[in-house]
C-alpha cells in the first residue's frame, strides 16, 4: 500500500500540511494581514466581494491574492499530478444556496473554520464557541448523510468548464494590476480598496499570491479539509484529516507565541465579538452547509481548481452571500451581531434542513 502513490495524502503528509499552514497564517498576519486573520477563506472572499463593489462596507474591501492563489495553485497541482478532472452537474443551484448560507453563518461568527482555529491558536476564547457550533452543524449534516442525503452524481465535462473559476480568479488578478491601490484612496476607477479596518491590512501582493499558490498546491495534494476532519470523525471514527487540523492548531499556537501574537482572553479580540450564542449559532449554520456541500470553504476552492464545477458554484455562492450579508445587515462586527444576523441564521437553518430532508435520491 506504499502511500498509494501520494505521500501528501498519507497520515504524515496531512500532518505536515497542517503544520505548514499553522506557520504560514500567523506569518501572513505578521506581514500585514488582519488580526488572527492570516488566512480566512470566508473573510477573504467577503473582501473580494467588497473589492469589486458587490457590497459597500468600506472596511472590508480588497481583492485578496491568497484566494486567487488557492484556486490557481490547486489547478497547477492538479495538472502536474494528472488529477485535473473537469466535472459538473451535481445540483449546482443547491450548492450555490449552500455556499450563500455558509457565508451568512460564517460572517455571524466572523470567520471560516480555518480562522476559527487561528483565532483559538492566538488566544481568542470566543473561537471556542464558534468551533463547538461548527462541530454541532457538521454533526447535523452527518445525520443527514447517514439517512441517505446526497446531491446526486456529477458528469465528466469539457476541460474548459473546470478552467472557468481559475480564469475568473486570474481576471481578478489582472484587474488588481491594471487598477492598483492608490495610497489613501478608496477607489481606483472600478476597484475598491479599504483605507481603514481589516480590508486595509494586507501582506504585500506578491507574497500573498506566492504563498496562496503554495498553499493551493499542498492542499490540493493532501485533500486538507477542516469540515471533513470533524465529519470523518463523527461518521467513520476516522482521524486522518483531523490529525492535520490538530497539527495546524499546534504550530499556529507556537508560531503566535514566537511572533508575540498570542493574547489570551475574550474581550477586545481582533475582528471578533463576544455574543457567544451567535458565535455558536452562526457556525452551526456554516458547519451544516459545509457538510451538506461536502467540503469546508478552503477545500471547495481547491476542488474548484482541480476541475470541480460544482465546488466553483459553491465558492461563487459564498461571494454573493458575503455581498448580501453586508448589504442586508446580516454580518457581525466587533460590536456584535448585525441587525438581521439572528433572523438570517434561522432562515439559513430552515433552508439547509429543508435541503437535508428533501434530497435523498437513490444512488
Amino acid at each position: 500500500m506504499a502511500a498509494w502513490g501520494n505521500i501528501s495524502a498519507t497520515r504524515t503528509g496531512i500532518i505536515a500540511v497542517g503544520a505548514i499552514l499553522g506557520v504560514l497564517a500567523p506569518v501572513l498576519q505578521k506581514l500585514g494581514n488582519p488580526g488572527n486573520m492570516g488566512i480566512c477563506v470566508a473573510c477573504f472572499e467577503r473582501d473580494i466581494a467588497g473589492g469589486v463593489g458587490l457590497h459597500r462596507a468600506a472596511v472590508v474591501q480588497y481583492i485578496r491574492p491568497e484566494i486567487i492563489g488557492f484556486v490557481v495553485g490547486a489547478l497547477i497541482s492538479a495538472y502536474i499530478f494528472k488529477e485535473f478532472r473537469a466535472r459538473a452537474g451535481s445540483a449546482p443551484i443547491v450548492r450555490f444556496i449552500l455556499g450563500f448560507f455558509a457565508m451568512v453563518g460564517a460572517l455571524v461568527f466572523l470567520g471560516c473554520p480555518w480562522r476559527a482555529l487561528f483565532r483559538l491558536a492566538a488566544g481568542d476564547g470566543n473561537a471556542i464557541f464558534g468551533l463547538l457550533g461548527l462541530v454541532a452543524g457538521i454533526g447535523i449534516g452527518v445525520l443527514f448523510l447517514k439517512n441517505g442525503y446526497n446531491l446526486g452524481r456529477s458528469q465528466t465535462t469539457y476541460a474548459a468548464v473546470g478552467w472557468l473559476l481559475p480564469l475568473v480568479m486570474l481576471g481578478f488578478l489582472i484587474l488588481m494590476l491594471l487598477f492598483p491601490q492608490i495610497p489613501d484612496k478608496e477607489l481606483n476607477t472600478i476597484l475598491f480598496y479599504s483605507v481603514k479596518g481589516p480590508g486595509s491590512q494586507h501582506a504585500p501582493l506578491l507574497i500573498s499570491l506566492v504563498l496562496g499558490l503554495f498553499i493551493g498546491i499542498i492542499c490540493q495534494r493532501s485533500r486538507f479539509c477542516t469540515m471533513g476532519a470533524f465529519r470523518d470523525l463523527l461518521l467513520f471514527r476516522q482521524i486522518h484529516l483531523l490529525s492535520g487540523l490538530i497539527a495546524l492548531l499546534v504550530t499556529a499556537f507556537v508560531t503566535n507565541l514566537v511572533l508575540s501574537q498570542f493574547k489570551p482572553g475574550f474581550e477586545n479580540q481582533p475582528v471578533a465579538h463576544t455574543m457567544q450564542l451567535w458565535n455558536f449559532g452562526g457556525m452551526v449554520l456554516a458547519g451544516l452547509a459545509f457538510a451538506l456541500a461536502g467540503g469546508c470553504p478552503g477545500r471547495q476552492l481547491f476542488m474548484a481548481g482541480e476541475g470541480d464545477g460544482d465546488a466553483a458554484i459553491f465558492a461563487l455562492g459564498m461571494i454573493v452571500g458575503a455581498a448580501f450579508s453586508h448589504n442586508f445587515l446580516m454580518a457581525s462586527s466587533p460590536k456584535g451581531v448585525g441587525e438581521y444576523g439572528i433572523v438570517a441564521v434561522f432562515i439559513g437553518l430552515i433552508v439547509c434542513l429543508g435541503i437535508g430532508f428533501t434530497m435523498r435520491q437513490k444512488i
Partner: protein, 72 residues
C-alpha cells in the same frame, strides 16, 4: 460472488459510505468499486484498509479507477 459499487460522479463522502456499506454486508470475498477522482480512490482504499480488506488491484481507464478489494 463478486459485487460492484459504482461511486463515479459522487462527491465526498458518498464513495466511502457506499463502500463501507457493501463491505459490512458481505464481510468477506471480493468487492469492486468504481470511482472517478484520485481523492475518492485514496479514501476508498483507506476505508477498506481500516476494515481489514486488502487492495487486490487498481486499474485506471479513461480517468476512472476500478478498485478491487478482497478479504478472507
Amino acid at each position: 460472488m463478486s459485487q460492484t459499487v459504482d461511486a463515479r460522479g459522487l462527491s465526498c463522502p458518498q464513495p466511502v459510505l457506499l463502500t463501507l456499506e457493501a463491505l459490512q454486508k458481505s464481510n468477506q470475498g471480493q468487492l469492486t468499486v468504481l470511482v472517478d477522482t484520485d481523492t475518492s480512490k485514496e479514501n476508498v482504499l483507506r476505508a477498506a484498509a481500516s476494515q481489514g480488506w486488502q487492495e487486490a488491484g487498481v486499474q485506471e481507464q479513461g480517468g476512472e479507477y476500478r478498485i478491487t478489494l478482497t478479504k478472507g
